[in-house]
Subunit: 339 residues, 2 copies
Amino acid sequence: MAEYRQGRQSFVLPQPPVITAWASTAGKKESEGPHAHTFDITSQDTMFGQRTWEQAEKQMQRLTLGKLAEKANMRMTDFKLVFSGDLLNQCIGSSFSLRNTGIPHLGLYGACSTMAESLLLASMAVGGGFLDHAVAMTSSHFASSERQYRFPLGYGGQRTPTSQWTVTGSGAALVCRDGSGPRITGCTIGTVTDLGVRDANNMGSAMAPAAYATITAHLRDFGKSPVDYDLIVTGDLGQMGKEMLLELAKRDGLSLGGRLEDCGALIFDRENQDVHAGGSGCGCSAVMLCGYLLDRLNTGKLKSILFCGTGALLSPTSTQQGLPIPGVCHAVIVEGGRN
Amino acid sequence: MAEYRQGRQSFVLPQPPVITAWASTAGKKESEGPHAHTFDITSQDTMFGQRTWEQAEKQMQRLTLGKLAEKANMRMTDFKLVFSGDLLNQCIGSSFSLRNTGIPHLGLYGACSTMAESLLLASMAVGGGFLDHAVAMTSSHFASSERQYRFPLGYGGQRTPTSQWTVTGSGAALVCRDGSGPRITGCTIGTVTDLGVRDANNMGSAMAPAAYATITAHLRDFGKSPVDYDLIVTGDLGQMGKEMLLELAKRDGLSLGGRLEDCGALIFDRENQDVHAGGSGCGCSAVMLCGYLLDRLNTGKLKSILFCGTGALLSPTSTQQGLPIPGVCHAVIVEGGRN
């Protein structure tokens, strides 16, 4: 039986679900970055053979799910449950990718925290004994995000130094009751945290307070210190947000012990790829988890990480109405496989 | 331990979570309908004292959560987890309602199926032993929906006979490990189903195939017949969608035995309230469940129902791009309390 830390935000998984397979698809720019070799599928066609950016995003999810099935030696239609969501209005990347596949689907909205949220819920579903496996998946696409949140690409709007580059990519993980691979041993559910940041071109800073709130809640709930993990890895704070998070910790006298990394700061070569503060989007932490991080956990190069998906819960409407940007962060402990 | 029906879409809850409290908030038009007396809070001000429709929706969720806490004899900050989502882009009704409350939050997107989806996930979280209670909540608002999905209200667009009226309302249910009240004994997770309906002004018909797929999967997985329930109640098919669902069943020779009802067909007086095919929106099934239905289950007037949340997974973008409207439906068995 799972155990909930009373009055707190975390739960442990006494029978840790196992991530037995993972897969990722990434776009052109991502395939020119330092982690290109860790992605399963890359494409030089940012339309992925589709007629619209939105359908390209759907297609990335389809490709990722197909690759996941292949790596797990299953058929795609064998999947019993997919937890997924994306950044598109009404999450049409996720719903169209699963359309008429016959795969049961529970849709999520956690903005860029969706990889962690879906992993957390898949762990709950499997760890609670409801089914023997579940898929956690998400995606984002640079072009669909720019149009929806900012400007159409053809407008050629100038990007501020604090802005981040939405990753074109999709990642999926298969969470199983049995099997071998990295294990999920505990999770911390985030709260909607907002310190009043209103700059929609500085989302890393808007999300940093949520990341800090969840990381400190996690350490408190589990009685742990940052050095108990090889890596505390946030989703897409980027360089600005990462610095803000370190500053928040410093103010409280909390040392993150050199353990902090951020998928958004890692995924691109910021010197040469013109991405300003780094990568962002649901796909950012998804492809870094379902490639680089899980690969290293699986081969023992990393023993344990705290994977902290970070999401900015704004909409263009809330920004136009002058409201601040609430953030959320969900954290999942992933420990190295036993092989 | 929960039991998942192997290879199928359903799970049973051997230790059924209990809905110990429920609360609802509804708008002006809803408070003039036949179920006005079952709502906890009604307002003649459709802005709910806020400056924007979106903030009005946030406020409805806040009021509902406050009323739920009051009815459960708790403080709002005692809630350990809220599963919620809404129809607004990036679900800002839900994230802003929980902003800086310190309540852990997992965001969902299931379109108008969100009340059933949140109830299903709260049952999983509680039934799996992860925590002793969780809240399931959602909302919708006529004016924010019209502007986002169709036209600004000031435009005065004419409504087609098949169109439905988005309910202004919010509902929340407290799902507990212990206590007295209606119990959740099993759930069926929906698949994304699409028979090619493309008319965004006839969403009931677009969702009917998903409802039919989930209801038949449910009956198959549990070996049940429609007459095993007092009521099979869909979310917001409205009159057109309800007729389409009956037609789909008739074609297969399945009699729903007079058990079918629809929250969208029930909530308004269609003769006198000029709502065309009926009510719709996340709030529609939410206020009908967290009022009329749970009240009747609690007093024994209903013994058991199959609550089927129905969602149309379209976006204005997918419609403008000429795509059909996928639907989803999640079903939750709710049985009457033992008092």
